[in-house]
Amino acid sequence: MKNGPVFFFGLLAAAGISWGGLVLGSHGQLSSLPPYYDEIQSQNFPARMNGLAARGQYVYSDLGCAACHTQQVRRPGYGSDKERGWGERQSVARDYIYQPRPQLGASRLGPDLATYGARAEKNPEAAAQLHALLYAGSATHPAYPFLYNEEPLVGQVSNKALKLSSGGRPGMQIVPTERAQTLAAYLLTLNHSFDFPEAKPLPAPAAKKQEPSKK
């Protein structure tokens, strides 16, 4: 390879072609994806996150929760995602269009969180359990005590105070910081809000019983 300019141009072309193909190609397909307007509910889906939850996604991102949790449900039949209750359908690109930095994750040391909010809705103690888990951890989940403040109990117990089974120190209460509150708000909104048409499985091909009539 003697010709320097041709060599370097070839390298540039190689990097450029893969960038053009993968990045620009997917950008062309995904970046102008509009929300889906459902006429029955007269609403766009997905809805944008509320402010508290939107800030919570940044907390999720900077703590690196994506190191152990995914937020992408695989289609039914491909893995046990549906059987584990993680979602009735697979996640599609439209679910993420209003997330500034989707936290898809690449590792499942813990459960998938894409529909955590939906599972939590069925459980009235969900928020309290979430805060307890984040504060104290468990055998398999790290603790994040720095997301909570221990404050002196003056007068009434704060309505945000954690109700810990082990009981706190007398005269003290554990209160979530703003970061913990936004993180919890974010996790409790995570949901597949709508059954998009592209998420429905393809109909099975009809059995080919007729003899071929066209040539």
Binding site: A15, L22, S26, L30, D62, L104
Partner: protein
Amino acid sequence: MSNSPTNAASAEVTTIDTTARGPLLLLVGAALVWLVISGILALIASIQLHSPHFLADCSWLTHGRTQALRETAFIYGWAANAGLAVALWVLGRLGGNPLRALNWVVVGGVFWNLGLAGGMAGIAGGYMTSFSFFQLPAGIQPLMLLAYAAIALSGILAWGGRRTDGTYAAQWFAAAGLFVFPWLFSSAQLVLLWAPVRGTAQAVAAGWFAQGAWTLWLAPLALAGAYYIVPKSAGRVVPGYEFAPLSFWTLVFLGAWTGGRHLIGGPVPAWVPTMAVAAGSMLIFHYAVTLANLRIASAGTGTAVRYIRFGVWAYFMVGVVELIACFRGPALSVQFTFLATALEQLGLYGALSMMFFGAIYYMVPRLTGNPWSSAALASGHRIGVILGVSLLVLSLAAAGWIQGQALLDPQVSFAQIAERIRTPLLGATAAQLLLLAANLILLVNFCKTACACAKSASQPALFRQPASLEASA
């Protein structure tokens, strides 16, 4: 035909080496320091996997941040510095002239490492970008880009100012590793940080960068050292060399197309992971030719070539197993498990790092003109690293296999999975401890060697000359 050591010190150390001594030793020293730092972080992260409450009180070392710190220190600290040193040295040697713009290399090296230190503090403080292989805080990345360009300039000038018209494979890989990275890095910064694409297109772009960094940046830097050292150590012409150009261009054109390999079944268009399979299949040609070319490493003698031998075989294995893992069937068991981590470690540690170790062991005596300060420490490092990498990859693979099978069974809870994989993860922690100890040994050996050089030790290095060497560059 014996390989008796000859006193060919003067022939092996030329002005190319003496002029480049300071800057390249700076880069190698920085690389080894970052390797040890990454090792400490890897040990902490590994402990946290089976004992989640380890250091949980410290927000800087919460598990997610520790993983980002470990990965960043390894790639941008160890691999980048080592790769730059190897590439510049190879281009200088094969170019036949002393390296130019070495002041730029020093300035670039200092700012790269300072920027990295700042970036690591940023990650610990919660400013990481959350993209794999790309965790450095957004603010520091342009500085890293400029620092890299300053260092790479010397290599590109060495290519342009070479004495011979023709070029060797080692030069192509070195030039590719130096030249492509700024484009890769800046394009990724553009679409992920400055003008982010929407939604899951970010995942595709991040995958493109991560695979591009492996195939277009780090692997070429390692192969540059391998293609230079192996024929010289073995004293033979590279077999099948006529396929090397095609192998090189296959890697360069197809490497980044495997960017979708972690997005199988994910919320991206199906053609993205399918392209990864297609590109991965064609890339087997590159891996096969590399192995065919460099298998003569088994005939080589000396410390350096033993590392490279291990590295080349690991590199081939990574190519094959990565392809198998891209197919949707095997991906069901591999995706999201420690099997993927094991494969990544096989590539980064087993292939890349071993080739860099070999290049460092070969390069440093020729730069300093002195032998390595302690042969015992060198052996200790070699045994420690080979055992450590093997144990690490096997432990993670075992954990990943158990985890993968358990994840497919919806009746198995995550607490049960954690219980089942605890023992292999303890093995992985032991491996990280062994690797840290071995790399500390190498750092100590390097410091002693470099300090001896600074004090002008009187003992010249003895270089092995294979008796049947036809040509030498």
